[in-house]
Amino acid sequence: MTVTERPAARAATPSGELLRRRGREKRPVWEEEPGKVGQGIKGITLTGVCLAILGPLWVVVVTSLSDQKTITEAGGLVIVPKTITFRAYTELLSGGTVTRATLVSLALTAVGTAISTAVSVLCAYGLSRSGSFLHRPILMLLLVTMFFNAGLIPTYLLVTGVGLEGSYWSMILPSAISVFNVLVLRAFFQDTAPELVDSARIDGAGEWRILFQIVMPLSRAVIAVVSLFYAVGYWSQWFNAMLYLNDQQMWPLQMILRQLVIKQQAPQGMSQMISTQQIPSLAVQMAVMVLALIPVAVLYPFVQKHFTKGMLIGAVKG
């Protein structure tokens, strides 16, 4: 997660109740009708903002689907599609560097997200029961890391020192827990129906049972959002790969993308394909970009409706 999310969630809103949109489709009687000019400016601004986000994506997707002739005619990037061909994708995904990198990224994301979510839920649940073992000191320890950290070098020395260099665990373990996510979960768990938890306890349910059968099902939305954040984090990772994975064969997709587009060099095993012009190299670059974009675009709609809830509710109490 990037730094900017932290403030977003900590910003206080009085209570969950008020977060609901007021959903006023009609203009209240006391509000004056907006002027034509004002409405026009608003519309143009909103359209412009949306185009600024979607336009580049459109160009990238269309170019990745174009053949060499269209790309040459357009002088590079294609805005209006003429022919649609999936050649770049079939070439890239029929084995070789990009196929492997995509699988590596998918696997890392799946395993990493599972581990991170599991550990965070357990940690948050433990910390949400006041009076649990070393509850205060552990919470303090977690909080300190949000305000102070010693920086890149000690982390690097630690990870290499325990021998994770060159192993995929170096992509997962150092970032397995985000304190921020734990705090969001904890605040949410604290709020879930105490009377349900109490009655379950009277009926003889243990902590595991309470967590799995009561608290977790009630917190599905927030757990979904937290998992999405973890998944996006793992999918986007390249820096840890650069630090710890020296073998290009092990690189995830983001590193291939960086090499291919930002550095404009063909990664190992791809140079031949590009130099022999089996497929237009611009379309290949765009196709790799689209591959990096697809999982996000696929997951996004499912979780999007929970954002506000997951980000804001309870996070205040930290």
């Binding site: 809103t13 006391w30 994506l57 070098i153 993308l257």
Partner: protein, 270 residues
């Protein structure tokens, strides 16, 4: 300062974590003598300043704009689009910018095909600080809207009605009702941003360091990376990292104090 000379002054190798002979504050002295450290420091602060001015107000403005859209469906659609880029990796965002504004990018390509001179914003050190700000706006300004929208939806609607009945127009209602409601959130985010003054998009800038050159793009974090990882001079780099950690902590505490003095909530209260 010449990094060939710096290299190996304090050779601690990975794996050799553990008690090493102490060198007192030598690493700090060397750090402070390195002019590139001070350049990185200056770059960091100026990027932070540019982003405070050019990035910070954007989510507020977008939230006000969105809040004035009556149709729930339209607002929802725009929100979905706005939040999307936040979930893209920095590698992807920079490749997208490169394809749009770079030397072989769409804009240069269109200009050339209409007989104008092409250009390459991505490798121009002069505009780099604004370029990274533009990238940040593209990626995260939409996401920043969430928190302001939530604060706006918590405003008691009766206040608007009362103000309107008292004769306050659209702008005066915004000034006297909406903005005061946003003030605690704005104060909080400002505190956090100032506390993070030394952190400016490490991954984002590191990805573009080669293209632009360290002169314009070196910031605190990339300097630590360059000295420590690229030149394996762990001692000096770790000193730099530690200074940043302490400095940031102090900044948060001060900013929080200032927020309290202005009567705002800030990050925490004793």
């Amino acid at each position: 300062m010449d990094h060939g000379r710096l290299q190996g002054l304090r050779p601690v190798h990975p794996g050799a974590v553990g008690p090493a002979p102490g060198v007192g504050f030598e690493n700090f002295t060397l750090l402070f003598q390195d002019s590139r450290f001070w350049d990185a420091f200056a770059n960091t602060l100026s990027i932070t300043f540019i982003q405070l001015v050019l990035f910070f107000p954007v989510p507020v403005a977008l939230a006000l704009l969105l809040n004035s859209v009556l149709s729930d469906r339209l607002r929802g659609l725009v929100q979905s689009i706005l939040y999307l880029p936040h979930f893209f990796s920095w590698v992807l965002v920079i490749t997208i910018f490169q394809q749009m504004l770079g030397g072989a990018g769409l804009l240069a390509q269109q200009l050339r095909s209409h007989g104008y001179e092409g250009f390459d914003l991505m490798t121009d050190p002069g505009v780099f600080k604004f370029l990274v700000t533009a990238q940040l706006v593209w990626k995260d300004a939409g996401w920043g809207v969430i928190v302001f929208l939530a604060a706006l939806s918590a405003v008691n609607q009766d206040l608007y009605e009362a103000a309107a009945v008292d004769g306050a127009g659209r702008w005066r209602r915004m000034w006297h009702v909406t903005l005061p409601a946003l003030r605690p959130v704005i104060a909080l985010l400002l505190v956090l941003r100032v506390g993070d003054a030394l952190t400016v998009g490490f991954e984002q800038i590191l990805l573009q360091r080669d293209a632009v050159g360290p002169g314009a793009s070196e910031v605190f974090d990339t300097y630590v990376w360059w000295v420590g990882i690229a030149n394996t001079d762990y001692g000096i780099a770790a000193a730099g990292g530690l200074i940043k950690g302490v400095f940031s902590l102090v900044l948060v505490l001060i900013a929080n104090k200032v927020a309290h003095m202005l009567g705002e909530q800030g990050v925490y209260r004793k």
